[in-house]
């Protein structure tokens, strides 16, 4: 891998972010009465997309916003402009990463649009809440405004076709609720909330969540590691793997997610997911799985179903990474997912010097010192920042959030003069040690109490 290529800035990205930062700043005070600075930022947003097919609609939306007569449609145009800038940044960053890794990536197929029926009212309710947020601004949110999302969120979560929007709005509203009222917040997460809001506006557009064409794939699946996502009321495990197909090795992901409650955390979350994917046990046992006609999206996401699988032979992730990763081709990113936060590319790092200080852990490679994203390291597995600091090899996800970072999925480290491999997802299929087993039992207990309470109180 040519790490030096990641050290140089990618053309246009900081300029795009500057424009986005102006728009995001306007959301702090709200779009109802933009001041001089906010008006300039809106004009800059329109100017940035003036050479694109969005030009006319964005220019109109900016005029209407400044005139104080903003509608849902105008908000959608502003969000489209912001998303286009970040989408282009994503593409440029990912292209640089692919170049550095020597990774081939399929082009996005021109696919027909699917349809989504019977969701219009719910999507309109979501858009209406998102409009109210944009008008109030982060400084203007209060408990009432935040709780207006509750009904729509519940209904969105219950409809699996709309789960993506539901899970997003739920996590977003949870943060707003914890921080409200906005007027007295010490600091505002300006980029993050603009991101979450803008993605929600996109997904709430009619057709955005329409089903896309799904193919099938067969071959031997060799897991690399597990990326775990969580907010108070959702958890998702995303397994990154190499799939050996007749056309050569491919990088794929397999996800499993479920709604949950905030008191089920840490290693307790795995048991909520295990029953829905035999892959989690295969990860813990370090086994391959043989897939037959497994559904797969054009974006490289397997739509996992155990009926298309058979347990396979032992497969050690570092062996997979050393032998297969360099030659594996990657899937294209679906248009509506293009945002730098979505960059999570599996790579193998070796021959680095690890260093730890108060600010965190860094790995120094030829031409690049990369920061370990310790905030993406969780307590649901045995991998710790200290082990990363003592490591000699690392399977991780390259990410970008203003700069390149590495999220470790597994490391090889010297422990008592022996090289051992430690995996962040080692407990996915079941905890191996006493502390993990205790945490699992406690979480099982908590879930049991809540189910008992639900049985007595919910169905009345």
């Amino acid at each position: 891998m040519r790490f030096d290529l990641l050290a140089a800035p990618v053309d246009g990205v900081s300029e795009a972010y500057e424009v986005v930062a102006g728009f995001d700043g306007a959301l702090v005070g709200g779009l109802l009465r933009p001041g001089a600075e906010q008006i300039a930022a809106l004009h800059a947003l329109a100017a940035a997309v003036s050479g694109t097919p969005l030009a006319g609609r964005v220019a109109e939306a900016v005029d209407k916003t400044i005139a104080g007569s903003i509608s849902d449609e105008h908000l959608a145009a502003l969000v489209a402009a912001r998303s286009a800038l970040l989408g282009a940044s994503h593409d440029a960053l990912l292209a640089r990463l692919d170049e550095a890794a020597g990774r081939g990536r399929e082009p996005w197929p021109a696919a027909g649009l699917g349809s989504l029926t019977g969701a219009d009212n719910l999507l309109a309710a979501a858009r209406s809440w998102l409009s109210d947020l944009a008008i109030a601004g982060w400084r203007g949110i209060d408990h009432d405004l935040v709780s207006h999302a509750d009904q729509a969120v519940q209904a969105l979560l219950a409809d699996l076709r709309l789960r993506r929007l539901g899970a997003l709005l739920d996590g977003f509203a949870g943060e707003l609720r914890a921080c409200a009222p906005g007027a007295t917040m010490p600091r505002v997460p300006v980029r993050r909330w603009a991101d979450l809001w803008a993605r929600a506006v996109l997904l709430a557009q009619p057709g955005a969540l329409a089903s896309t064409e799904v193919g099938t794939v067969s071959g031997r699946l060799l897991p690399l590691g597990v990326d775990l996502h969580e907010h108070p009321t959702a958890v998702q495990a995303q397994v990154h793997a190499v799939l050996e197909t007749a056309d050569g090795p491919r990088l794929v992901r397999a996800s499993v997610s479920t709604p949950k409650v905030d008191t089920l955390v840490g290693s307790g979350v795995w048991q909520l997911l295990r029953g829905h994917s035999a892959l989690l046990a295969a990860v813990t046992e370090q086994r391959a799985m043989d897939l037959t006609d497994m559904p797969v999206t054009a974006g490289g996401d397997l739509i996992w179903s155990d009926e298309h699988t058979k347990a396979g032979a032992p497969a050690e992730p570092f062996a997979t990474a050393r032998v297969q990763l360099a030659a594996a081709s990657a899937a294209p990113v679906p248009p509506l997912e293009r945002h730098p936060v979505r960059i999570a590319e599996p790579v193998l790092l070796e021959g680095y010097t690890a260093a730890a200080d108060d600010d965190g852990v860094t790995l120094t490679l030829p031409g690049l010192t990369v920061e370990v994203d310790v905030e993406r390291m969780h307590s649901a597995g045995p991998l710790t920042p200290a082990l990363v600091a003592a490591s000699t090899a690392c399977i991780g996800l390259l990410r970008w959030d203003g700069h390149w970072t590495i999220q470790p999925l597994a490391v090889e480290a010297q422990v008592k003069r022996k090289t051992v491999a430690v995996h962040a997802g080692a407990w996915a299929g079941g905890a191996a040690d006493a502390a993990g087993a205790k945490a699992e039992a406690a979480a099982a207990d908590a879930a049991k109490v809540l189910r008992e309470r639900a049985g007595r109180l919910l169905r009345r």
């Binding site: 993506r164 991101d195 998702q236 997610s257 008191t263 829905h276 010192t369």
Partner: protein, 167 residues
Amino acid sequence: MNAARKPWEERSAALVVAPARPRKLAKVPFVELADGRLQGVVSSGSDIERVYVSSLTAANHSFHCSTNNNRPCGGIRRGGCNHLRALADEAVLQYGVERVARYVRAEVAEDATTGAAVLAAADPWHEPSAGAPVFSRFLRHLAYLELAATTEPLPELHWFPAGGAVR
């Protein structure tokens, strides 16, 4: 070299709210800091069909406690009732004393560690209000466990990394 870390305000994956800590739920199945209140539900010690709905309002430090059938709590005194005390203790386990005290605007000593310290600083006074909104938040909370899992990807959860390895 690699560019420097961006400030918190400029990061997409900035951590805004620390994850809750696990705790035993038998006595207090639900507690939250929401709607300007420390609020939650306490199971009755004597009747498994009954729960108490308790809350402490941050703005004026008034508290409420009643059953889910809207009968007033029998143990109300100046400074709270047993249910509110249990609620404050569990909130401290779940969120840490600093976050609870900050949310309910109670000025606790720097070495405070307990829910009792938060209540002593707030000195709650009783003002009956409606318990129903809190109880419905609890029912909503329980309903999460009834929703189906899915193996379709949720790409938006990249904004929500599981954390907790370092605090």
